[in-house]
Symmetry: C2
Subunit: 340 residues, 2 copies
DNA sequence: TTGAAAGCGCTAACAA
DNA sequence: TTGTTAGCGCTTTCAA
């Protein structure tokens, strides 16, 4: 069978007009019971399925949310996506997902496709925070929600994690355990998360009157190798730190690898806290302390924001949510014995 | 600005008919150069974007591939999806992704949605291999490709990994290193991967005349917690194994966590091989030996299969690919010293 | 409670 | 080389 029955086939079989059929498939009521029954059985007899395309054409909505992420293989995003999808399905929305591989050009392409397809809303972690290419979506009246990375050049709803607070908590913890030579492995300073996590580090040091030593600030790029290099660099620097804070999960991994190879004893010779939980955190020894983010919740909230805006085109002010990450203290940060 | 210009607006501005505009936006040629230029500039002046919905309506194709996975947070799938997406984009296709959380009911819902939306093809790792609900897709002439899990009750193109061979290789390796008390942490036996990986285990034991001890077979469900429980169970069983084979990545992680907590020395007291590579494999001490699958390649092939079939409605025989996984030996499997 | 009919924006066959 | 026009399958007035 390859023939797709249409609303007209149903109407013919049930001996009513297509308008009446439309009423029952949309549960609009106002149809006599007997008529409805005839229609329902005609539908199942024919195996009729209403065409979402024709429907979208008429209604000017697709019930789909476009999702753009920079890297679907980074475990953070599948969790966020799961949260979005879950909530979306509950509300009758579906998602079309694309990964940019951090490429601005790919992102532009995807935006264009979303525009053509008439998505009802977009949830994005952009590869380029200036966001000029994203503006076109907004110009078409398509609600946008930025997740994890802000968009700079115009106003959109945003759900971020309080990066400053997260790294502040982590560094403060290290300070309270008696560390003073605390290093940071930074993310790129031209991204919000990268910069903010550095600011939290600075803030904690200032608050406790610990001078910031530039030699303890290593510029990474959020990739594993830069974490690795960072640890190496710090190990061999003249002012070897007694504690390290790493700005993201991938760099944490590189870093721990390096510590292993250097035989730089985690927890004993050097305390450690990383931003973002990693799978390995609880099964290396000692267990890693981390700053953890509620990934699924982020997705759920993001969907709620687009959803609200889809159904309130005009009247909503810009909303900016800042979720507080949680410091999970395990074993990799210990009192600074070397001080004593 | 919230008004969406249509092909008519473009035609009016360029002072031609909509047919001519259609010709240029579809690169069909046969349009005088000057005319084309006028149209192109009208398009950019108005910011015209062709409606994919209207186009699909007319052409009876959506250029979208539906993807159904059981669990998007399992790192295996994002890699497969990345492969699909990559190839798809090259060919002008886009993907709509849904995760069933292993629920048959959710899967049925999604199938229905895909049907309504008129996807051109579906790539699925099904939560229920009997596949009766999926049959509806095929009845509508929508090509299906099964990935990682076969579909039993009718014929579809399939790309699988040779699970039997993969776990056979792993278990044989353990046997050759002198292990006899080799445990397996199974996946669900009503899924192909779960069952086949068990068969490979059995096959290896049989081949080397090692009797299968039911106490060494732990029934897991592919989730992390069941790997954790499995290791616990095996540790405390009267016939403690000297080697463990875990049937998937998530259970491997649970398992390694448990080993740590139990202080059951990996590689020394218990050798270990897991199915599927995991991020942490090279990272923990000792490094984990694993059976590795070419995930991105699987996705690329899957897309190629649907694509072929979309463009060759009738004429293709059923195709079934079986990729051979690779045993990567690292440090977690060692000769069985306890035997000596 | 039901039906007739007007489109939604596009493609493609046909005509000019 | 260009234009006219008939739909694609549905929703939604408006009228009966």
């Amino acid at each position: 069978m390859d023939y797709k029955p249409t609303i007209e086939d149903v109407a013919r079989l049930a001996n009513v007009s297509i308008a009446t059929v439309s009423r029952v498939i949309n549960n609009q009521g106002g149809v006599r019971k007997g008529t409805e029954e005839r229609i329902v059985s005609a539908i199942s007899e024919l195996g009729y399925i209403r065409s979402a395309v024709a429907r979208s054409m008429k209604r000017k909505e697709t019930n789909t949310i476009g999702i753009i992420v920079p890297d679907i293989t980074n475990p953070f995003f599948p969790h966020v996506v799961a949260g979005i999808e879950q909530k979306a399905r509950e509300k009758g929305y579906y998602t079309i997902l694309s990964s940019t591989n951090e490429s601005q050009k790919v992102e532009e392409e995807i935006v264009k496709i979303f525009l053509e397809r008439g998505v009802d809303g977009v949830i994005i972690t952009t590869a380029n925070e200036t966001g000029d290419h994203i503006k076109r979506l907004q110009d078409q009246g398509i609600p946008i929600v930025a997740v994890d990375r802000a968009i700079k050049n115009f106003e959109v709803d945003t759900v971020l994690v309080d990066n400053i607070n997260g790294s502040y908590q982590a560094v403060r913890q290290l300070i309270l355990q008696g560390h003073e030579k605390i290093a940071i492995i930074c993310g790129p300073q031209n991204t919000t998360p990268g910069h903010e996590r550095y600011l939290g580090y600075k803030k904690a040091l200032e608050e406790y009157n610990i001078p910031l030593d530039p030699n303890l600030v290593f510029q990474g790029d959020f990739r594993e190798t830069s974490g690795y290099k960072g640890a190496l660099h710090l190990f061999y620097s003249k002012n070897r730190p007694t504690a390290i804070f790493s700005s993201n999960n991938q760099m944490t991994i590189g870093c721990v690898k390096a510590l292993n190879e250097l035989d730089w004893k985690l927890g004993e010779e050097v305390s450690f806290i990383g931003f973002d939980d990693v799978e390995i955190a609880t099964f290396i020894k000692p267990k890693l302390s981390v700053v953890s983010r509620p990934m699924t919740t982020i997705g759920e909230i993001a969907f709620q924001l687009v959803y609200d805006r889809i159904h309130n085109k005009e009247s909503l002010p810009k909303r900016e949510l800042l979720l507080t990450p949680e410091l999970i203290i395990r074993e990799s940060c210990q009192p600074n014995y070397q001080k004593i």
